[in-house]
């Protein structure tokens, strides 16, 4: 068994060396494609982090009615904690609300001195986790909170949330389309390289078959060629991506005045998945090319 596999690998290696120019061009092209895919993944990971942070900055204010007692306040707090995905960022009492208003008015804070009593309501500030997965329906939460005893009004920035959801949607659809197209391109390149290799050795394959080689005996070295192309290209793409990351990670990036992005590299799982995807595409390309050849 080992002997036959050694033969297959030796045969694949000799074929690669004999057609090294074709293989080099093909590996270069696959490396570029995988690099694009990897860069896109890196962008995706970083944008996801950024979106998460952004999502956490979306808050909801739950204004309480004047004159509610401590017991009612605790009851509301308890119910807020039960909302899936919600976290209480803080409680702002009437007094704190007035201080915050005065601070925001700055020099014109004196305007508020004429007030006989504090008209501002106390409120709970809610933030939400998993905003990037659309698991939180803020409108629904708003409606149910407003029905609660002791709650006066609920406010959140609907415009922000809609924009946020729009960005995520566009980003994910673009990710699927670009990623899918790149995979198809890699598959196409590998299939055609293997097809070229097969056709350049058509006579050899015919002779192998005439002396009693099974289909798999002929196919396996080509599949190894595809896999080798895939894995080497995947490794190269990963190394280039990592080098680029090392160069650029020291710089901070800010887009449209939104929160600063700390660039992170792909997780081990993601890095391995690039190389594995490259390997799988190599094997698939080989299988498609061989399937077509043996059919004819």
């Amino acid at each position: 068994m080992l002997r036959i596999w050694l033969y297959f690998f030796k045969s694949a290696f000799i074929n690669i060396m004999n057609n090294r120019l074709i293989h080099l061009i093909s590996m270069g092209t696959i490396t570029i494609s995988m690099l694009l895919l990897g860069s896109f993944m890196l962008l995706s990971v970083n944008l996801n982090n950024w979106i998460k942070e952004w999502g956490e900055s979306i808050s909801m204010s739950v204004y309480l009615k004047d004159g509610i007692d401590e017991k009612e306040k605790r009851e509301i707090e308890k119910q807020l904690l039960n909302i899936n995905g919600a976290k209480i960022k803080g409680f702002i009492s009437k007094e704190q609300a007035m201080i915050q208003l005065k601070e925001s008015l700055g020099g014109q804070a004196g305007l508020l001195n004429g007030l006989k009593e504090n008209p501002l309501p106390s409120s709970f500030e809610l933030v939400f986790e998993d905003m990037d997965n659309f698991r939180v329906d803020l409108n629904n939460i708003k409606r149910s909170l407003e029905k609660m005893e002791g709650v006066d009004e609920v406010q959140y920035s609907e415009q922000w949330v809609e924009r946020f959801k729009g960005v995520i949607f566009v980003f994910r659809v673009a990710g699927l389309i670009i990623g899918g197209l790149l995979c198809v391109a890699v598959l196409f390149i590998i299939t055609n390289t293997i097809k070229l290799a097969i056709y350049s050795r058509k006579d050899e394959i015919e002779i192998y078959k005439l002396v009693g080689a099974t289909d798999w005996f002929v196919k396996i070295p080509f599949l190894i060629e595809g896999a080798v192309q895939g894995i080497i290209s995947g490794l190269f793409a990963f190394l280039i991506l990592f080098s680029a990351y090392l160069i650029f990670s020291t710089k901070t990036v800010q887009i449209f005045g939104l929160p600063v992005i700390d660039i992170v590299f792909l997780s081990n799982k993601n890095a391995i998945s690039i190389i594995l995807l490259s390997l799988v595409l190599g094997l698939m390309g080989g299988l498609i090319a061989l399937g077509r050849f043996f059919k004819t």
Binding site: R3, Y7, E204, I207, V211, D215
Partner: protein, 220 residues
């Protein structure tokens, strides 16, 4: 060993073989002859399983080639040596590698392959050419490489299609001596030729084909 029943083959409207019936015994040495286009090569290709009949049956050692699975046909081919008119050698491989090919596909150990290749090359008198490439040797030597490759698996059947078509009379004689010695070891030998010279006083059965039909059978 080989039984052929009512074998017919058409390529479009062209009838290549027409109702062929033939039995070849184990260990027999048989010639198939006829003019060009008589169907000799087509008949051999059917026996080797590279051609499927339009109708009829072919049995090799009890195995029906018309119903055989592809994988089993590959395995059966290891028991049949075929020497092609154009030799079908790989010009980018050495003489040794060309002959070793027939054993490598079986997954045989390298030590055994080495031993058997040396034996086969010795039997066709090419021991000194094992490192040469096919295009560096003469036509007769190329023919002997093809023979060495065909006999290396100790086949039960050896088929040769116009094996001496491109060779001069002296080399033809040597090649025929080689076939006879292979036959003496128990291998069934089938040779297709249109050479009258080759058929003279063979002492073997001769099947004469014309326009895809057996028109004469001369017992040896």
């Amino acid at each position: 060993m080989i039984q052929i029943y009512r074998l017919s083959k058409s390529f479009g409207t062209n009838i290549a073989l027409d109702d062929i019936g033939l039995r070849i015994r184990k260990g027999e040495f048989i010639f198939i002859t006829g003019p060009s286009g008589a169907g000799k090569t087509t008949l051999l290709r059917h026996i080797f399983g590279t051609e499927k009949p339009t109708s009829g049956q072919i049995l090799i050692d009890g195995i029906n080639l018309t119903r055989i699975r592809r994988h089993n046909l590959d395995l059966l081919r290891r028991k049949i040596g075929f020497i092609f008119q154009d030799f079908k050698l790989l010009n980018n491989k050495t003489v040794y590698q060309n002959v070793a090919l027939a054993l490598e596909v079986t997954g045989e150990r390298q030590a055994i392959i080495r031993k058997k290749v040396h034996q086969a090359l010795r039997s066709v008198d090419l021991s000194n050419k094992e490192k040469a490439f096919p295009l560096e040797v003469s036509g007769g030597e190329q023919q002997r490489i093809a023979i060495a490759r065909a006999i290396i698996n100790d086949p039960m059947i050896l088929i040769a299609d116009e094996p001496t078509g491109n060779l001069d009379p002296d080399i033809t004689k040597d090649i025929m001596v080689l076939f006879r010695s292979i036959n003496l070891r128990g291998t069934t030998v089938i040779i297709a030729t249109h050479s009258k010279e080759l058929l003279r006083d063979t002492g073997h059965r001769v099947i004469v084909l014309n326009q895809g039909r057996i028109v004469e059978e001369i017992e040896g």
